[in-house]
């Protein structure tokens, strides 16, 4: 009866929803490749983040560092090895995994707010390194880009008509819609792995750590390696997302590692519902969608939107809304976030559950809480 309960049912529904995104997102102005790619990439980022935050309750403020490392590693793979995306992704995931191990090893000596601050400090350090000190590797503020003269030792023979070669999956260009479908497939695989983790003994141990770390210790679990493993896995997800960013747009910039980017994934996860499986993907989609819609408004488009009102009213409404859209859309995001935290502490997924129970659907239990 409850299709979402079974693993296969859930995967089928998820796969269909993700792959048909170009169709059902087109009417609300989100059916174009760049945004679709972002949905998939940030969905993946948030899924991975949720493995740490949602399952173990450890709040990392530094995950953007791994996103950035994944991007840099992927671009270097494009520059040095080949334009094929698979080695780039592999390289990105491995590099971010190694970094996550090092950062996690140190940060996980503390818990709670001290852990959060340590991760934040590490991420900020990485950002500053990428921004200036490591300029030979990262190309500083400009960002690491491809050039025609890069060695690319594995595909030296192939030359491209556009001057700069584009990223490919064995000849299939990774820009536009094919790029989206590639990211979507990776997202679906990433979702499947997260689903399995959350329903595995390993996942249960992580939930146990979140619920009562003291009990875990006196029950015979060595919690530290579990935490490090979870941290590394979520760091690798972030690196995967970062390398996909480079796949769809072969550039890596330091701002990807800024604390605001780390904060964004926290917002996504909490907004959608930390600890749930679909929540983080939903949260990522919502934030990226609103960012796109609200930030594109300017005076002109606002006036057009409210032109049906009498002149004075129109100006009044526009004056009130203006600070919350365009370059000020972060205000809108902050407001949205406050509303969610106050009225829906469990995120959007919690809200959906509430509506379900209210309208008498007999699905006894929330479809896919972290149970």
């Amino acid at each position: 009866m409850n299709i979402m309960k079974s693993e296969i049912g859930m995967m089928v529904v998820f796969t269909i929803v993700i792959l048909t995104m170009p169709l059902w997102l087109a009417p609300i102005g989100a059916g174009y490749p760049d945004l679709l790619q972002k949905f998939a990439i940030f969905g993946l980022f948030a899924i991975g983040y949720n493995i740490l935050f949602g399952l173990t309750g450890y709040l990392s403020f530094g995950h953007a560092a791994f996103l950035g490392i994944g991007s840099y590693a992927a671009v270097w793979s494009f520059k040095l090895l080949t334009m094929n995306v698979l080695p780039a992704i592999l390289f990105g995931v491995v590099c971010s995994g190694i970094f996550a191990f090092c950062i996690g090893y140190v940060s996980l000596r503390r818990s709670g707010i001290y852990f959060s601050i340590l991760t934040l400090a590490f991420a900020q350090m990485s950002y500053n390194l990428a921004y200036s000190v490591l300029t030979p590797i990262t190309n500083g503020e400009t960002g690491l880009q491809l050039t025609i003269n890069d060695p690319r030792i594995l595909d030296a023979a192939v030359t491209s008509a556009t001057g700069l070669p584009s990223t490919t999956l064995f000849g299939l260009s990774m820009s536009g819609y094919s790029g989206f479908y590639f990211c979507a497939v990776v997202l679906i695989i990433g979702f499947f792995i997260a689903l399995r983790i959350s329903r595995s003994p390993f996942g249960l141990v992580l939930k146990g750590i979140k619920s009562n770390q003291t009990r875990m210790k006196y029950t015979g679990f060595n919690t530290r390696p579990y935490m490090i493993t979870a941290f590394v896995i979520s760091g690798m997800y972030a690196g995967l997302a970062g390398s996909l960013m480079a796949v769809t747009d072969p550039l890596a910039g330091a701002e990807r590692m800024q604390w605001t980017a780390s904060g964004e994934v926290v917002l996504m996860t909490i907004l959608g519902g930390a600890g749930t499986l679909v929540g983080p993907v939903l949260g990522a989609g919502l934030i990226k969608y609103f960012e796109n819609i609200f930030s594109a408004f300017n005076d002109k488009s606002l006036h057009e939107l409210f032109s049906f009102l009498p002149e004075i009213l129109e100006n009044g409404v526009v004056a009130i809304i203006r600070p919350f859209v365009g370059e000020g859309w972060h205000l809108m995001l902050g407001l949205l976030f406050m509303l969610i935290i106050i009225f829906l502490p469990g995120g959007v997924m919690k809200g959906i559950d509430r509506i379900k129970t209210k309208f008498g659907s007999k699905s006894e239990k929330p479809a896919e809480q972290s149970e």
Binding site: R196, S200, P201, L204, N212, Y218
Partner: protein, 250 residues
């Protein structure tokens, strides 16, 4: 009773907090298969003694020897893996998880050890763990799908007891296992503990309820102000004038 039968030996353990001598030169042996009760007034140092045993506190002096191996300095998870489980004075359970998952976690620790990376295994297919958990949950009279956080205080204690029992520890430490329970629940807990005893599990029980103590204990140690003031069978302790004065209130 020979020395080989000693499961737990607490040798000259001393622990002080600042100027407070919570434990002074405690020497205590627990024989295999027995139930050893520790009684004493509030603040006597009973919980502190258990904390020293499970690695939560490190003694200033002395040693804790379990099964012939020294425990002092080992980390809590190593001590548990060696076969020591504890029911805490305030229940330490997983309030966010279901009763079922609460019991499965310790079973996994017993089966898989202190660390195992098995992220692709489906927990629903761990029939071994589930069946065992189900049996224990029924034993203590709980429902597997209930949310542990919403249980009553007495039920939380029983859940914690089930969690510890699920590990089949060689030594079970119980810190006031019936506190906060109704008379009826207390009696069924006594029955449960007796049943375990038949299986030969060694237990150390801290209790204020003398009814519980005298129905379970083979041996009793009386602790006051960090010192053992009397030790013996229930009858001996009952008759001891020092104990009568210090604890049983004449």
């Amino acid at each position: 009773m020979s020395v080989e039968d000693t499961v737990l030996h607490i040798a000259d353990v001393h622990k002080s907090f600042g100027g407070l001598h919570a434990l002074s030169d405690i020497d205590l042996s627990v024989q295999k298969g027995t139930t050893h009760a520790i009684i004493g007034p509030n603040g006597a140092g009973k919980s502190t003694l258990l904390n020293v045993c499970i690695g939560r506190l490190i003694p200033d002096r002395g040693a804790v020897v379990f099964d012939g191996k020294e425990l002092t300095g080992k980390s809590p998870h190593e001590i548990n893996q060696a076969g020591v489980a504890r029911v805490f004075q305030t229940p330490e359970i997983f309030t966010d998880l279901t009763v079922m998952d609460n019991v499965i976690v310790p079973i996994l620790s017993k089966k898989d050890g202190s660390y195992k990376f098995n992220p692709m295994q489906n927990l629903a297919h761990r029939k071994d763990a589930r069946d065992q958990a189900m049996e224990l949950i029924e034993d203590v009279g709980l429902h597997p799908d209930d949310h542990a956080g919403s249980l009553s205080r007495g039920d939380k204690r029983r859940l914690e007891l089930a969690m510890c029992l699920s590990q089949h520890p060689k030594l079970l430490l119980l810190d006031e296992p019936t506190a906060g329970m109704s008379r009826h629940d207390t009696n069924s807990t006594i029955e449960l503990l007796k049943k375990i005893k038949e299986r030969g599990m060694t237990k150390v029980v801290i209790e204020h309820d003398m009814h519980v103590v005298f129905s379970l204990a083979d041996k009793i140690s009386v602790l006051a102000e960090g010192k053992i003031i009397a030790e013996g069978t229930p009858e001996e302790v009952k008759a001891n004038p020092v104990v009568q004065e210090a604890y049983l209130g004449g």
